[in-house]
C-alpha cells in the first residue's frame, strides 16, 4: 500500500502548493499594513479569468499571463487609491471590512465583464502524468510547486535586501516613525497592494489548468489560503508555504485514511488545535501589539 500513500502525499502536495501560493499573497499586505486583505482570493480569480479571456482573444499564453498579472496589479493599486486611501486614519478593522466590500464588488464586476461560466487554461507543459513510486503527478503541479519556491526566495530577497522592501517592513513596525524617516506610507501601500495583487493573479494563472477558474472561485481559495497563512504564521513567507502544504496534506490524508466526507473538518480541527497551542502559527513571531 506504499503506492497508495505516495499518491495521497502527492495529491496533498499539489493542493497544498496551491494554498501556499494564495497564502503568500496575504503576507505582503499584512506586512505593510496589518490588514488582512479579504479581496486576495479575488485577485487570484482575476488572474485566471483575465488570462483565459486574453487567451481567448488570441494572445499567446505567456503574453496573456503577463497582461493578466499587470491588470490585477493595476486593480490592486486602484483599490488603494479609491478605497483604502480615502479611509486614511481608519482602524485596521475598518480597512479589513473595506477589503471585504472590495471583494464583493470585484466578484460582481467579474461576473458582468466576463461571464458566469467556468473556464480552463491549457496546462503549460502537457498533461502526460509523471510517475513517482507508483503514484502520479500532473506536470502542472510541478509548475505550481516550483513557482511557489521561487516566489518565497524572491520575497525574502525583496523584504531583506531592497530599500522598498525594508520600507514596507518599517511601515508595518511603526508607521509614524517610518513617516518621520521620510518613507511615503502612501507609496508603500500602493506598492504592497500592487505586488500582492500581481502575486495573487500569478497564482490564479498557475492553478487554472488544475482547478479551472470562474467568477466565484476566489471565495473558497481565499478562505483556504487565509487558513494556510494563519496556520503558518501571518506575515511569514516560509510560514505561508509550510501552512499551505500542511493544510493540503492534512486534507489528502484525512480523505484517504479517514473519510472523504469529513476531510475539511479534520483539517480545520487540527488547525484549531495548533493555534490553541501556538497562537502565532507554526512560524509566526511573538505577537506584538500595535499601540
Amino acid at each position: 500500500m506504499s503506492a497508495q500513500l505516495a499518491q495521497f502525499l502527492l495529491s496533498g502536495l499539489t493542493v497544498g502548493a496551491i494554498y501556499a501560493l494564495v497564502a503568500l499573497g496575504f503576507c505582503i499586505i499584512y506586512n505593510a499594513s496589518h490588514v488582512i486583505n479579504f479581496a486576495q482570493g479575488e485577485f487570484v480569480m482575476i488572474g485566471g479569468m483575465a488570462a483565459a479571456s486574453f487567451l481567448g482573444a488570441g494572445l499567446p499564453l505567456p503574453l496573456a499571463a503577463l497582461a493578466a498579472v499587470a491588470l490585477a496589479a493595476l486593480i490592486g493599486m486602484a483599490l488603494v487609491k479609491f478605497a483604502v486611501e480615502p479611509a486614511r486614519g481608519a482602524s485596521v478593522v475598518t480597512l479589513i471590512i473595506i477589503t471585504i466590500g472590495a471583494a464583493i464588488l470585484l466578484r460582481g464586476l467579474a461576473s458582468i465583464v466576463w461571464d458566469k461560466r467556468i473556464h480552463a487554461l491549457p496546462a503549460f507543459s502537457g498533461e502526460q502524468p509523471i510517475e513517482i513510486a507508483g503514484a502520479t503527478l500532473a506536470p502542472q503541479s510541478l509548475w505550481v510547486i516550483g513557482v511557489t519556491a521561487l516566489i518565497v526566495a524572491a520575497l525574502w530577497w525583496f523584504f531583506n535586501r531592497t530599500l522598498t522592501g525594508k520600507a514596507i517592513l518599517a511601515v508595518s513596525h511603526n508607521r509614524l516613525a517610518a513617516q518621520l524617516m521620510g518613507i511615503s506610507v502612501r507609496r508603500v501601500l500602493l506598492v504592497s497592494f500592487g505586488l500582492s495583487a500581481a502575486l495573487g493573479a500569478l497564482a490564479g494563472i498557475l492553478i487554472a489548468p488544475i482547478t479551472f477558474t470562474s467568477w466565484d472561485v476566489g471565495v473558497m481559495l481565499g478562505l483556504k489560503g487565509f487558513a494556510a497563512a494563519i496556520l503558518g504564521g501571518m506575515g511569514s513567507g516560509p510560514g505561508a508555504v509550510l501552512g499551505g502544504l500542511t493544510l493540503g496534506l492534512l486534507e489528502s490524508l484525512g480523505a484517504g485514511y479517514i473519510s472523504s466526507a469529513y476531510k475539511d473538518a479534520i483539517a480545520f480541527i487540527i488547525i484549531l488545535v495548533v493555534l490553541v497551542l501556538m497562537p502565532g502559527g507554526l512560524l509566526g513571531g511573538r505577537a506584538t501589539e500595535r499601540v
Partner: protein, 378 residues
C-alpha cells in the same frame, strides 16, 4: 337619450375589447445570478426570447404575453418573497420558474394555497412525488438518470460500481437516488466517496476507488467544475474501467474543461446535446434543432439543456392555455394535467393525474465523448 345609449354601449364594447387585449402575465423567478447562475441565466434568456417570438406571431388566445421575471440568486428565501409578489402584486396567470429544487420547494406551499399553476424547472423527484395539485415540472429527475446509467452498465456486464459525488444539493440527491435504485438493476455499489464543492484535486478519493477490489465502473454524480477535475484525475491515475458522468454536466463546457481526459466518458442527457446528429427519423429532431439554432444565433452562446427546460415549461404553459381556451387558473391546470404526446427538448411529455412530469427513460440518450464531441453511444 338614444345617442347616450349608443355611446354607453360603444364604451362597454371598447372596454371589453381592452380587457381581452390585456396581456397574459407569465411569472418567473430564476437564479440568474449566484451559484446556480448557469441554470438561471439560459432559462431567463430562453423565456425572454420565446415570449418575444410568440408575441411576434400574434400572442396566445389573441392576447400578448408579458413576462414578469425576478432574480432569486439561488436563494430559497428570496424565491419565496418573489413568488409571493408574483401571486399577490403582479397577479400573474401562471409561474414558470424555480431553477433549483430548494427554491421550488420553498414556493410550493404558496402556489398550492393560491391555486396557481406552477411549472418548475428543477430536477429532484420530491417536486412531483407525491403529486401536488398545482405543481408540474419539465426536467428529468436524477432517479431517471441513475436508472439510465445502471441499465447501460448492466448491458456492458458491470455488476460492481463505485460512486464518487460532490457535496452540493444536486450531487447528494443523485447519490441517494442511485444508491436507492442500484439494487433494482443488480448492481452493487462497492465504494462511495465524496468531495467538497470547490475542491481542487480528487486523486485521493479516486486512489481509494482504484484500490477497491472488483470495481468495474465508476459513476460521478455532480455538476460544476468538480466532475471535470474528477475526469482529469481519473486519467492521470490511469484508471481504465468506464467512467460515467451525470446529466448535471451535460454541456459542451464539460468537454472543453476536461479536454482529452473526457474521451470515452458516458453520460445520460437530453437529445438537445446531439441535436444535429440525431437521425432524421427521430421525432424529437425538429424541435431540438429549431430551439438550438434559435438560441445559438440569438445569444452567440452554446445551448444548454437547462435553457431547454425553460423552453419546455413555456411551451407547455402555452399549450395548456390554448387547450383550455382561457387563462382561468383551474382550467389551465386541468389542461396541463391532460397534455399527452407533447414533444419538447427533454423528450415526449405524457402528463397524468399521477405524473406531473410525464417523461420516461426514452427521454434520456446515452452519450459518449468521442474526439471532443458528444455522440450517441451505440
Amino acid at each position: 337619450m338614444k345617442l347616450h345609449a349608443w355611446f354607453a354601449a360603444a364604451l362597454l364594447a371598447v372596454s371589453a375589447a381592452a380587457q381581452a387585449q390585456a396581456p397574459i402575465r407569465i411569472g418567473a423567478f430564476l437564479s440568474v445570478t449566484g451559484p446556480a447562475a448557469f441554470l438561471g441565466d439560459p432559462e431567463q434568456k430562453t423565456l425572454e426570447l420565446y415570449v418575444e417570438r410568440l408575441n411576434a406571431d400574434g400572442g396566445v388566445l389573441g392576447r400578448k404575453l408579458e413576462l414578469v421575471s425576478y432574480d432569486s440568486g439561488g436563494d430559497a428565501e428570496k424565491a419565496r418573497t418573489f413568488a409571493k409578489r408574483l401571486i399577490e402584486q403582479d397577479r400573474v396567470d401562471l409561474i414558470v420558474g424555480g431553477s433549483t429544487t430548494g427554491e421550488t420547494m420553498a414556493v410550493v406551499p404558496l402556489v398550492e394555497a393560491a391555486g396557481l399553476p406552477f411549472i418548475s424547472l428543477a430536477g429532484a423527484v420530491v417536486i412531483v412525488e407525491p403529486v401536488k395539485k398545482w405543481v408540474f415540472k419539465t426536467p428529468h429527475t436524477d432517479r431517471m438518470a441513475c436508472d439510465k446509467i445502471f441499465v447501460d452498465m448492466k448491458a456492458r456486464g458491470v455488476s460492481k460500481a463505485a460512486l464518487i459525488s460532490g457535496s452540493g444539493g444536486f450531487d447528494k440527491s443523485m447519490r441517494a437516488q442511485c444508491q436507492g435504485v442500484a439494487k433494482n438493476h443488480g448492481i452493487d455499489v462497492v465504494a462511495d466517496e465524496t468531495y467538497g464543492a470547490s475542491d481542487t484535486d480528487m486523486t485521493t478519493q479516486l486512489t481509494k476507488i482504484r484500490n477497491t477490489p472488483g470495481v468495474q465502473a465508476v459513476l460521478n454524480a455532480g455538476f460544476g467544475q468538480g466532475p471535470a477535475i474528477v475526469t482529469k484525475n481519473y486519467r492521470q491515475l490511469g484508471i481504465t474501467v468506464p467512467l460515467y458522468q451525470s446529466h448535471g454536466v451535460a454541456s459542451k463546457q464539460y468537454i472543453n474543461l476536461a479536454g482529452d481526459a473526457a474521451e470515452g466518458v458516458r453520460l445520460p442527457a437530453a437529445a438537445l446535446l446531439v441535436a444535429e446528429s440525431l437521425p432524421d427519423s427521430d421525432p424529437q429532431k425538429k424541435v431540438v434543432v429549431s430551439y438550438k439554432q434559435a438560441y445559438e444565433t440569438h445569444f452567440k452562446q452554446d445551448v444548454s439543456t437547462f435553457g431547454g427546460h425553460a423552453y419546455d415549461g413555456l411551451m407547455l404553459a402555452v399549450a395548456a392555455m390554448k387547450k383550455a381556451g382561457s387563462t382561468d387558473k383551474a382550467k389551465v391546470r386541468d389542461a396541463l394535467e391532460q397534455i399527452r404526446g407533447y414533444m419538447g427538448t427533454a423528450g415526449v411529455v405524457n402528463m397524468s393525474a399521477q405524473d406531473h412530469m410525464g417523461l420516461d427513460l426514452t427521454a434520456f440518450r446515452m452519450l459518449e465523448v468521442r474526439k471532443g464531441d458528444w455522440v450517441l453511444a451505440r
